[in-house]
């Protein structure tokens, strides 16, 4: 039955979300894999899902040999994950054999072997034509049967026998002190060992999975978080997604026209990651709401993860600044996911978020506030988680907006230490001046696009967010009523200047008129004199001619010689 091929190790897909990627295809086919971990870490569930998915998705029937729970208990336990065990048993796709080892009713008298177990297993395998086998937890034999040495030998024989049968096996084992399993099963099962861990850090539990070894295959070597959700096991996220995402040139509006203008006129890049950081009450959520509103108005889906406010609270509050998100919610374009940060560990949050993103397929994701996660994990973990989230969103081409609450003076280094992951960073800060607090918006960075270096005053009106130029002048940067007072003073000064100019202009006019009047008067005097003089000249000439005539007349009278 055991195929001897010299090609690469044949894999047996588990069908478990994320695990196959981690294992580079699946468990080693035809070989046993040890799944170990402390009590309650999900060993049985992992094994059961391997079996059920094998039967349902890969057409490989399986045998579940349970040493700890009986068939009914098992069926109940996995029914919560949506597995119909009784149905699969009836359809002869899965066989469950409950092995009970009761120490109190067993007496040992000399040597024995486990042939009975072999026969039962063989019978179960034959009854469904099983390709997959789970032994959960074979170590119980040690508490039920005497002579550990015989048992060890028999288990060694069992694993060899299973290999010969060519079935892919999961053996579960309880974690021991200083070793992977209490009875050192890892010595016998040396092909693949998966360790499950369930850690509580600051009262928040996180499940983690690590592939300790995988003979003959590459595998992810890190500790990966996993969760047991409504649809079973999922190991998340799939190995680091890396930096392979395609950068897009398309832009999406921020929802605030003036902010679009600050970003070169078009808003954020699609698929980029935006951080809005600021102190409490500086308008982060409002800015996020604008972004979401704009996305929904374009007919895109938006997903809002709220960690501090309930959905209805957000909708109500945003209404006060003129943004009504309810129609988008009703139209199915906007979905809220609200949870308290301390509800789960980081990994669980991440897993739940990724799952929600996968299901809803939004174009826009808002996390408000991302800094809430600091409650649920330490800085390093938060950064690692944010990096994975950012990577995931970028791979999917989803534009993300993270709000982050900053405290105190360290405005330019966010608590999340994720600033380096961010493409566009808006800093909202409160300027405390002249007895009032006013909001201001800075554009700290925006990769790959022209952006304004100017501070804008950020005003929340009942029509939404408005960005106003701040007063920058000899008196410094002024905002709010200071800005208004300064502007009023300037207006007065301008008016005064304009009035002065008018006055001078009128003066000049008056002078010109006076001058012209003077000129006119002079001209009139001159003309009068001229006329007088001309009259005098004319009279003089008249007198001259009269004298001449008189002389002629006189001469004629005296009969003077004719000349």
């Amino acid at each position: 039955m055991n195929k001897m091929t010299l090609g690469p190790l044949e894999k047996c897909p588990t069908g478990i979300e994320g695990l196959d990627e981690l294992l580079n295809g699946g468990l080693p086919r035809g070989r046993p894999t040890l799944v170990c971990g402390s009590a309650g870490c999900g060993k049985t569930l992992l094994a059961m899902e391997f079996l059920v998915r094998g039967a349902v998705e890969f057409g490989e029937p399986g045998v579940f040999m349970a040493f700890e729970e009986n068939g009914q208990e098992l069926a109940q336990n996995v029914a919560s994950l949506g597995f119909d065990l009784p149905g699969l048993i009836a359809a002869k796709k899965v066989a469950v054999d409950f092995v009970s080892v009761a120490r109190e009713e067993i007496e040992a008298t000399g040597e024995y072997d486990l042939e009975g177990l072999f026969i039962r297993l063989d019978h179960a395998i034959n009854s469904v034509g099983a390709k997959r086998v789970v032994l959960d937890t074979v170590e119980s034999l040690f508490s039920g049967l005497p002579h550990p040495m015989i048992l060890r030998g028999e288990l060694r024989r069992l694993f060899r026998w299973l290999k010969e049968r060519g079935v892919t096996v999961i053996i579960t084992g309880e974690r021991g002190e200083g070793s992977l399993t209490r009875q050192g099963l890892e010595e016998y099962v040396s092909d693949c060992v998966i360790l499950l861990d369930h850690r509580i850090v600051e009262q928040i539990s996180t499940r983690r999975l690590r592939v300790v070894k995988y003979r003959g295959s590459t595998h992810g070597t890190n500790e990966y978080p996993f969760l047991i959700g409504e649809k079973g096991f999922s190991v998340l996220p799939i190995t680091s997604l890396g930096l392979q995402h395609v950068a897009r040139n398309e832009r999406v509006s921020t929802g605030v026209p003036r902010l679009d203008a600050m970003l070169g006129g078009n808003g954020y890049y699609r698929g980029s990651t935006v951080l809005v950081s600021g102190t409490a009450g500086c308008g982060k959520t409002s800015l996020a709401a604008h972004f979401v509103d704009a996305a929904c108005a374009r007919g895109e889906r938006a997903l809002l993860f709220a960690f501090e406010e309930s959905p209805s609270q957000i909708v109500r509050n945003m209404r006060s600044i003129g943004i009504d998100l309810q129609p988008a919610v009703d139209a199915g374009l906007l979905q809220f996911h609200a949870a308290r940060p301390a509800m789960h560990g980081l990994e669980m949050h991440l897993a739940a978020m990724l799952r929600a993103i996968d299901e809803f397929e939004p174009a826009v994701v808002v996390v408000d506030p991302a800094s809430a996660f600091v409650v649920a994990g330490n800085d390093y973990d938060v950064k690692a988680m944010m990096m994975r989230l950012v990577d995931y969103l970028k791979t999917k081409g989803i534009t993300a907006l993270f709000c982050a609450l900053t405290a105190g003076e360290q405005l330019e280094s966010s608590d999340l230490a994720i600033s380096s992951l961010i493409d566009t960073w808006l800093l909202l800060r409160v300027i405390d001046l002249a007895g009032e607090r006013n909001r201001a918006l800075y554009l700290l960075k925006s990769r790959g696009m022209w952006h304004s270096n100017q501070i804008r005053e950020f005003v929340l009106t009942d029509q939404g967010v408005d960005l106003v130029d701040v007063y920058v002048g000899p008196a410094g940067v002024l905002t709010g009523s200071g800005r208004m007072a300064q502007e009023a003073a300037e207006k007065a000064a301008t008016l005064a200047r304009q009035q002065e100019i008018g006055r001078r202009r009128r003066d000049l006019e008056r002078k010109r008129l006076a001058l012209e009047a003077q000129i006119a008067a002079l001209r009139v005097a001159f003309e009068a004199e001229e006329a007088e003089l001309e009259e005098a000249i004319r009279q003089g000439e008249d007198r001259e001619s009269v004298l001449v005539e008189d002389r002629v007349d006189m001469a004629r009278l005296r009969h003077a010689d004719q000349v």
Partner: protein, 114 residues
């Protein structure tokens, strides 16, 4: 297996009274030397201590593998005392007679008889 009336319903209502018939089953897997040893040991013990007041059924799991689950058989050979209750299991080749007698509660049984 044949249906028997194991309780022998004592008319006086003595619940502690030992039954007259001991119902024993020996599970083996093929005619291995260990199975044969176990069978021989058991036969000798029963003849000496129960003489005729017992039934012994030998079940070869190689022939009837489906019977292994019913009595929760893992180890081979396993001797199951089905009656009198409670069910007792004795695993191994039954070479330690003393332990077999304790396991079967035969010492008590004989004491009651005497």
């Amino acid at each position: 297996m044949a249906a028997k009336d194991p309780f022998n319903s004592p008319s006086d209502g003595q619940r502690t009274a030992p039954p007259t018939i001991w119902e024993l089953r020996l599970y083996v897997a093929g005619r291995t030397p260990r199975s044969l040893t176990a069978f021989a040991n058991l036969k000798a013990i029963c003849e000496e201590n129960l003489g005729g007041r017992y039934t012994l059924e030998v079940i070869d799991l190689l022939e009837n593998p489906q019977l292994a689950a019913g009595d929760q058989i893992l180890a081979i050979p396993t001797l199951v005392r089905r009656l009198p209750p409670p069910v007792r299991k004795i695993i191994g080749d039954l070479s330690n007679t003393e332990r077999v007698l304790v396991g079967l509660d035969l010492r008590t049984a004989r004491a009651v008889e005497e």
